[in-house]
Every structure is written in C-alpha cells, then in structure tokens.
Amino acid sequence: MIEAGTQEKGDALVIIEESDKREVLVESKIMAIYGEAIRKTVEEVTAGLVAKITVKDYGALDWVIRARLEAAIRKFKEGVKE
C-alpha cells in the first residue's frame, strides 16, 4: 500500500493497494457539487491500473488531484518493481 497527499483542506489523499481487481473509491466533502468531476478525473488518470484506489478529497482543485494521483501511481509502480 502507498499513499500520496495529505488530509489538509484543499488537498487530497490518494491510497493505492494491491488487488486482483480494479476498485475505485472516491470520498469528498464537496461530493454534492464536484462528485462527477472528481470521479471523471480519477478514472482518466488511473485508467488501466488494476489495484484498489481510494481518493479522499478535501476540496482540492482538479490539478492537485491529478498531481496526487500521478505521484501515487509512480510510487505504486516503483514499489511493484522492487
């Protein structure tokens, strides 16, 4: 399991765990007004990754979510290589 990001307001925490099947969980304080946008970004950036992906959003801008996802994916892939 790896993590990227923080639980600060305006940031997002991304957790990726090894799994046989792809599973995506998204939580956000602003789910009601940005839920679809956040899900779309998560699906797009993590496309093809077979793992359990959890995104806890604390009101992060889309760029921040993308950056945290990208960092998490790189960390996860490095970890797999080892």
């Binding site: 307001k9 305006g10 602003i30 789910m31 009601a32 007004i33 940005y34 839920g35 679809e36 946008a37 604390y58 009101g59 992060a60 801008l61 889309d62």
Partner: protein, 512 residues
C-alpha cells in the same frame, strides 16, 4: 408562486402568515402602527427574584404554541437557551416557536427538540448544526430568517409577537436592571435584547452576577423586566469572547484587504468619514490598514459602527475616531472600553438599520466592508447557504449595512478550496445586487456598472478592474463548473429582506 425583484420564485404564505415578494430596497412602504406588549403591574415587594426556571415558567404562564425569545450576545458560550429549553421540554410543553436573534453550534441540543415537536419552528439565525439539521428537514414548520434590523421591524410591527423573552444578563440587580459589561460572563452591550424587553408580554432575566440595587450602568431597565432568576453560570467566557482576534496572515486574503483599502481611499476616505467594522479576518485587516492610512494622512473619522474589536478600540484611544457605536463586542478590550470610554456608546438594535423607523445608523455610513459565501454576476450576495445548499449562517447586519452605506464593498476570495465564490447565480439571495457596489477578490475588483462615480474614482489605479462576468469565468476556469445543489421542492426556510418581504427561500437538501 410570484417571482420577486431578484428573479426568485417565492411563496406568498409561510406558516400560514402572508408575506409580500421582495420588490426592491425601499419599494414596499410600511403600514399600520407599532405593536405593544401586555401592560403589567409589579406586585408589592422589592425583589423580583425567582429561584428556579421551572417556577418562573409557571409564573409567566407559558403555554403550548407560544413564542419565546433569546439574544445571542453570549454567542457560542451561551448556556441560557439550552438551559431554558431543557426545562421547557421537561415540563412537557410542545409546539414552541423559538425566536432567538441567533443560534450557534453550542445549541445543537435543540435538534432533538425539533424532531420531537417541543419546538415547531425557529425564526432566527441558525449558525451550524441547527441550520444543517433544518436543511435536512428536521423542523416541522418553516424557518424564517431575518436580519438584525429586520427582526426589530418584525417585533415592532407585530409580525412576530413575543410571549416570553428570556434575557441572559451578565449583571442584574434584584429589581431587574441589567447590563452586559460586568460579571464573569460579560459580553459588552445588550443591544440585541432591548427590543424584546420592550415588546414581550413577559420578560425574564437570567443572571450569574447579582449586584445590589441599582445595577449600573443600565442597558435594560427595571420597568420592562418581570423576574430575575439567578443561576450558577449563564455562559462560558471562552465561547462568549474571542481571544484577541487575529488579522489574516494569508497573502491572498491580505491582498484582498489592500485592494479594498484602495477603493475606500479613492471613494470614501475624507475627514469625518464613517466606517462599518466587522470581526472576519479580512475585515479586521481592512480596519487595521485603514487606521494606518488615516494616521499617515492625518485623517480622523467621525464614527465607527461595530462589530467592536481591539483594533477599533485602539483607534478610539489613539484619537483616530471620535465615537464608536457598539451593537456587539467581540473581545475583552471592546467590553472594557464600552464600560470606561464615554465616547464608546451602546446602541439598541432598533437604532441600527430598521427601514421602518425614522432612520438608522447605517444611513450615516460612508463605507461598509462585508463578507459573503457567494456573489453572482448580478452582484447578488449569499451569506446564508453554502454551495451544496446547506443553511449554515444567519443574515446578521449584512442587509442593512449594504442598503445604508454609501459605499458597500464585498470582500471575498475568488474561490474557497475548490468552490467558486463568484458564480453565475448565488445559491440563495440574501442581499440584492442593487445595494452592492464593489466586489473585491485577490484577482482584482468588479464595480457595479450603475456606480459611474466609483468607476471614475478608480481610474488610474493599479488594482486590476474586471467585468464581474469575467471574474466568474476565471473562477470556473480554476475550479470547474460546480453542479447544482441536490435539493427537493420542499421549502425549509424563508429569507426575508429587512423590510419583511421574501427575498428568497431555502430548499431541503437530499442526504447523500
């Protein structure tokens, strides 16, 4: 349902009472005569002390369905609302209409009383959990929100009749003279409670600081107070008084304050000018920077209307302002100054900005700086709901300051975290764009196109000037376009303009 002057569809009846749609500020003339209270005669004797809440509730003859009121000078440190309501619940009363000036997170214990029917509805500001519960449908009837002055108007006009006013009194004598400047729960003025003391059928003071007759100074006078109930503690000083309020340290918020200062400087700053202060982080910064600028320029203000804080008191002591008018004190420096300084004056809320009166303080203001949860491209302002539709804040004095002040500035970040503050359409209209002059963000300012004089005054300024629609587009470009709040067709609250017309309604939010 009729469409009002800000384009919102509003009902003509709330809880069986008729209300007119908002027609524009000053467009709905008053009618009738002022309402009165029950004429009482004090029994013989030199003390009005009653030793328990239960006993006093029996004495005033409380009945199911009656209206009871409270003030919020003790803010999030208040014990009195919960104490009285628990007693009322225990005594088995139902269907009470609660008419506080405002409720805070500390009043969360009222939520089960909404569900059980002890309280049928609340007419007042609901900051935090009570508002949130109401948004999800906890209240049996519809909430009604009024501004500070709108509440005074409602009482004076008879729109709301108070059966019993329960007044938290930081200092009281046994014959009912009250003040807020002394005692362990000192809060400063008792401005919010004055209209209740004059107009309620029965008035009960609740105190934790009983002093020999006569208490002094006197904010609420004995001839209006029927009973005095001593209790251990009326509040927690930590929740009543903020510590020394901190000026924002965020670079973007400080930029907003500097831009606002430049607008005030170019439009309103002159010897003898007047200013509305507040306690928000940006507002404090504006007050502080304004003091610095006045010192540099050798300009003195005639008065500051507060929202009084240490920063305002410092300006008074330094002689940068002649008089402080005080409806609410935020820190201990403000309380001490109210007690000691002759030119720091407690003002009843009836003097603040009631449009149906012979004139309020707000009519004498040159500049007012206000906050918002949202602003839209018509300059409409929302201070009540968040963008997800939840009702989480009261109106405060927002409407009257905006309507009265010669220059009304709204200071807001362009977006908070991911949520755009400058939007196509505010979730709820609290204050109409017609009384808003300048929106100030960290990206620059937008001036209401009908204020040619301000547009002219800002010519040559280094402050970026935007069309409000471009500011909104910028916000959406950064945040993405937000979805509409997930609400149902059920109206959970009516937002009244200060003249008692309906400016907007709040809908029930679906639980996700």
């Amino acid at each position: 349902m009729p469409i009002n002057a800000v384009g919102r569809e509003v009902p003509s009846e709330i809880n069986g009472q008729r209300f007119k749609p908002f027609a524009g500020d000053g467009k709905t003339p008053p009618e009738g005569r002022r309402a009165g209270s029950l004429i009482r005669m004090a029994p013989k004797g030199r003390s009005k002390i009653v030793n328990s809440l239960e006993e006093v509730i029996k004495k005033v003859g409380l009945e199911d369905g009656m209206t009871i009121s409270f003030h919020h000078h003790l803010r999030n440190g208040d014990f009195v609302v919960n104490m009285v309501m628990r007693t009322i619940e225990k005594m088995g009363f139902k269907n009470i209409r609660l008419f506080p000036t405002a409720l805070f997170p500390v009043h969360e214990p009222l939520v089960p009383m909404l569900k059980s029917g002890v309280i049928r509805r609340i007419e007042g500001s609901m900051n935090g959990p009570v508002g949130e519960a109401t948004s999800y449908g906890a209240m049996r009837e519809t909430a009604v929100l009024r501004s500070h002055s709108g509440r005074v108007r409602a009482v004076e006009s008879g729109e709301v009749h108070i059966d019993v006013a329960f007044i938290a009194a930081p200092t009281a004598d046994p014959y009912g003279n009250l003040n807020g400047v002394d005692g362990p729960s000192a809060c400063g003025p008792l401005a919010y409670a004055m209209v209740d003391a004059y107009h309620a059928d029965h008035v009960v003071a609740i105190t934790d600081h009983l002093v020999p007759y006569p208490a002094h100074p006197i904010s609420i006078y004995q001839q209006n107070v029927d009973y005095v109930v001593p209790v251990d503690k009326i509040g927690d000083p930590k929740g009543i008084m903020s510590g020394t309020l901190r000026i924002t340290t965020s670079p973007s918020r400080l930029k907003i304050a500097r831009y606002a200062l430049e607008v005030i400087d170019r439009v309103a700053l002159k010897p003898g000018f007047s200013f509305q202060a507040g306690a928000g982080g940006i507002s404090l910064a504006v007050t502080k920077f304004l003091g610095d600028l006045m010192r540099k320029r050798g300009i003195k203000a005639s008065f500051i209307n507060g929202g009084v804080t240490k920063y305002v008191v410092d300006m008074l002591h330094e002689g940068l302002v002649d008089v402080v008018l005080d409806g609410q004190a935020f820190d201990l420096d403000a309380v001490k100054s109210l007690k000691e300084d002759a030119n720091h004056i407690e003002t009843p809320l009836a003097m603040y900005g009631n449009p149906y009166s012979s004139g309020g303080i707000v009519n004498m203001l040159d500049a007012g700086v206000l906050g918002a949860t949202e602003v839209d491209i018509d300059f409409n302002v929302n201070v009540n709901t968040h963008s997800d539709g939840l009702l989480l804040h009261g109106i405060g004095g927002h409407q009257e300051v905006a309507a009265g002040s010669a220059l009304t500035i709204i200071t807001v970040p362009l977006y908070r975290y991911r949520v755009p503050v400058v939007r196509e359409r505010v979730t709820t209209v609290t204050t109409p764009g017609e009384v808003v002059d300048v929106v100030v963000t960290e990206y620059g300012i937008a001036i209401n196109p009908k204020r040619d004089d301000i547009i002219e005054a800002m010519r040559g300024s280094k402050v970026p000037i935007w069309d409000i629609q471009d500011l909104q587009k910028k916000a959406y470009q950064i945040c993405g376009k937000p979805e509409e709040p997930k609400t149902t067709d059920d109206i959970i609250a009516a937002i009244l303009w200060r003249d008692g017309t309906i400016i907007d309604v709040v809908y029930k939010v679906k639980k996700s």
